[in-house]
């Protein structure tokens, strides 16, 4: 775990360097598309007006100067399956974005949806040396969290302290410099398959880029699609992507749970392709143009030309009614939503005070989905679109760009993670110079 801890620290330093240069790229490696945004940071935002939300909800300090989207290749279920193809797709997106921005970027923050994310809730507690919480006490309490068995070949990508408690007072956002005797913390740990992260790292390295941060796309789309009060009071975000559907539950502005269902819009398309015997591209076109989840009497009469180029007149002139198409789409969408509801139930979402659910992602654009979703997930369902950020092209404001936009916000306002705090002295090897230096630093 120390190895990843070090690499995450290195990423954090790279991100700081990139923010100082004022230029960073955002890369969303999805199953159906790869999006690249280039952000320019114009300087530190003025935060003099208290701890509230600044102008433009804190997004005014950066601007999107380059944006490009390309069809994803070689990605299945949000995981890289053909490295060369994915590398080409990333190169296409990065080059187009660089051309639009007319700058060169070296640092990139990436997100992906695969890797079977698993959530763990951790708790730690320490006695304070003196009756005041210092910086190193925070790192000590984070280090004191009981590490779960995350399994072989898995790595931590998010380890966020979500709550601090000092004696009997809980719900502290920042316990530093407060007085008390016992400091306790709750940490949310998100692990993914190590091979998936390694593949993504390697792929980005092959594009001559440095990875300055990595995030789960469920987390990123939750940041973008949930509004401020939903994140505060508690809400779940369901990001319906091409190859997988990500879930994230937010509470008190922190992500407390994340999971993913390995089903998405591409499965709907492949259902259509199989049932109608049409190529994948045609099925995709029919889905986006005529798709729906509620059949009405009108839809019986609406005939859709399927087409084909087999040369057989009978086959090439086939028609299908929209009702039949909906009959293909609906079971799969229901399956996705039922699976998501199952995961939410398993996470104990029903015990949360607020039952708000926000649907976003490219597959959430099927007409009539909100009605179907409210029947399966509960009454409080809304369709979410990502926040507007400065300079984002109109084409990239749809729900399918929720995780891309969320990653922008993540880059601008990173959440404190475990590795942002200094390593407590006890964790250093017993006879190292670093430990001696640390002791000097802490005591003088």
């Amino acid at each position: 775990m120390t190895d990843l801890y070090q690499s995450q620290r290195a990423m954090r330093n790279l991100r700081k360097a990139a923010l100082q240069r004022g230029m960073i790229a955002i890369l969303d490696v999805g199953t159906s598309k790869i999006a690249c945004l280039i952000l320019r940071f114009d300087g530190l935002e003025d935060t003099s007006d208290g701890d509230g939300v600044g102008s433009m909800a804190g997004q005014s300090n950066f601007r999107v100067i380059g944006a490009a989207t390309t069809r994803s290749r070689g990605v299945r279920f949000g995981e890289i399956s053909a490295m060369n193809e994915t590398e080409r797709a990333i190169r296409t997106a990065v080059q187009a974005a660089q051309k639009m921005a007319n700058v060169r970027v070296d640092h990139v923050i990436a997100c992906f949806s695969g890797g079977e994310p698993r959530s763990y809730g951790l708790a730690g507690e320490i006695e304070l040396h003196d009756a005041l919480v210092h910086e190193n006490d925070v790192s000590r309490v984070l280090a004191a969290c009981n590490a779960p068995d995350i399994g072989e070949g898995r790595e931590v990508i998010h380890a966020q302290p979500v709550n601090f408690a000092l004696d009997h007072r809980s719900g502290l956002a920042d316990p530093r410099d407060q007085s008390g005797n016992r400091l306790a913390c709750d940490m949310h740990l998100l692990t993914v398959d190590a091979a998936v992260v390694q593949n993504l790292l390697y792929c980005i390295k092959r594009c001559d880029l440095d990875l300055a941060g990595i995030a789960s796309s469920a987390y990123a789309s939750g940041i973008a699609a949930l509004v401020e009060d939903e994140r505060e009071l508690g809400a779940a975000c369901i990001d319906m992507g091409g190859g997988s559907t990500g879930l994230s539950i937010f509470m008190k502005k922190h992500m407390i749970f994340s999971d993913s269902v390995r089903l998405g819009g591409d499965h709907v398309t492949s259902d259509i392709a199989q049932c109608l015997h049409v190529p994948f591209a045609v099925a995709e076109r029919i889905k986006t143009k005529h798709g729906g989840v509620h059949a009405t009497g009108m839809d019986d009469r609406e005939m859709i030309e399927i087409g084909g180029d087999s040369g057989d007149w009978e086959k090439d002139r086939r028609q299908v009614s929209r009702t039949e198409l909906i009959g293909i789409i609906r079971p799969r969408v229901e399956e996705i939503l039922e699976q998501a509801a199952e995961r939410l139930d398993a996470a104990g979402f029903s015990h949360l005070p607020s039952q708000q659910i926000v649907l976003t992602g490219g597959a959430s654009q099927i007409p009539g989905l909100d009605g179907l979703a409210s029947r399966i997930l509960g009454q409080r369902v809304r369709m979410g679109r990502p926040l507007r950020v400065q300079g984002l092209p109109q084409a990239a404001t749809g729900p399918s760009f929720a995780s891309t936009v969320g990653l922008c916000l993540f880059a601008a306002h990173p959440q404190d993670e475990w590795w942002d705090f200094e390593i407590p002295a006890e964790r250093y090897p017993a006879r190292s110079i670093k430990r001696a230096l640390k002791w000097f630093k802490d005591n003088w």
Binding site: T92, Q95, R104, C207, D208, G311
Partner: protein
């Protein structure tokens, strides 16, 4: 039956090749752009110039080309100076100026350094100020104001004419040539001419008796009169001392008597030095006999 629609050719891969991608990133690097826009052209030009200039023959031919082109312009007749006109100088001085300048005529006006000509002319002792300009018809007009002789200075090497500021003008063969000018002598006499003028002004009552002024130890003046009389003046305020003597002379007619020197160096105690016959006569009047051996 085959498909009536011809199979489309495989779509071109939109992804840039690895090298195209690298090149685009390189071109977007600011340092590289600046180098290609400024550094490289400068480097290429400098290299070409260096290769051309490496051969001595090419350097010489280039140099020759430049000088001949310059000459073609400067040697045109409208720029040539053929004549020097010297105004305001005596014929001898004009000849001396001409000899001093030693201009190679005809010469191009563009190559003529008028300032240098002026400085060369003013370097002559007899020239106080020279104004040099190119006149109509490319005549080099030199207007000279001569120094006016005011003093004759007798030195060990001979007589020298000085102007009123004490600057040397020329040598003089005979004192009689310029009998109208007052005579000064002694080392450093030329440096104290303003004081000498003041003294001569003050000594106007016995103007006809003055033979000259002698500078003693570059410090003070002696006024020498005829009949081998001299007036020793103090270093400080000699004019006042002289005026005091003139007052004394008016009252008692001292200078007409048989004196060799009037010593005014100490203004509170003027001393008269008598000629030997007068001294003897004075002693006889007072009945003093002096032993002959002590007189020597």
């Amino acid at each position: 039956m085959q498909s009536l629609n011809r199979a489309l050719p495989p779509r071109r891969d939109p992804a840039p090749s690895r090298w195209a991608y690298k090149m685009q990133r390189l071109w977007l690097t600011p340092a590289f752009r600046i180098f290609m826009r400024l550094g490289l052209p400068v480097l290429v030009v400098a290299l070409a110039l260096a290769i051309f200039m490496a051969s001595q023959a090419r350097r010489d031919s280039l140099w020759g080309l430049m000088t001949s082109a310059k000459e073609q312009v400067t040697e045109r007749p409208m720029f040539m100076v053929n004549l020097v006109a010297i105004d305001g100088a005596s014929p001898e001085l004009a000849d001396a100026v001409r000899a001093k300048l030693a201009l190679r005529l005809p010469q191009s006006a563009l190559e003529l350094d008028l300032d240098a000509v002026r400085v060369a002319a003013e370097n002559l002792d007899a020239v106080a100020r020279a104004v040099v300009r190119l006149g109509v018809g490319n005549v080099l007009q030199i207007t000279i104001s001569e120094r006016q002789p005011a003093w004759v200075w007798r030195t060990e090497s001979g007589l020298i004419l000085l102007d009123d500021t004490g600057h040397r003008i020329a040598g003089l063969a005979e004192r009689a040539d310029r009998a109208d000018l007052p005579l000064i002598a002694g080392q450093g006499a030329n440096l104290a001419t303003p004081e000498a003028i003041a003294l001569l002004q003050a000594a106007r009552p016995f103007e006809d008796r003055i033979r000259g002024l002698v500078r003693i130890s570059t410090r003070r003046w002696d006024l020498v009169l005829d009949r081998a009389q001299s007036i020793l003046l103090p270093a400080d305020n000699p004019v006042a001392a002289l005026e005091a003597l003139i007052a004394l002379d008016d009252a008692e007619n001292i200078l007409a008597r048989d004196l060799t020197a009037v010593d005014l160096r100490n203004p509170k105690r003027p001393v008269l030095r008598l000629a030997p016959p007068a001294l003897d006569a004075l002693r006889a009047v007072h009945g003093i006999t002096v032993p002959t051996e002590s007189k020597s």
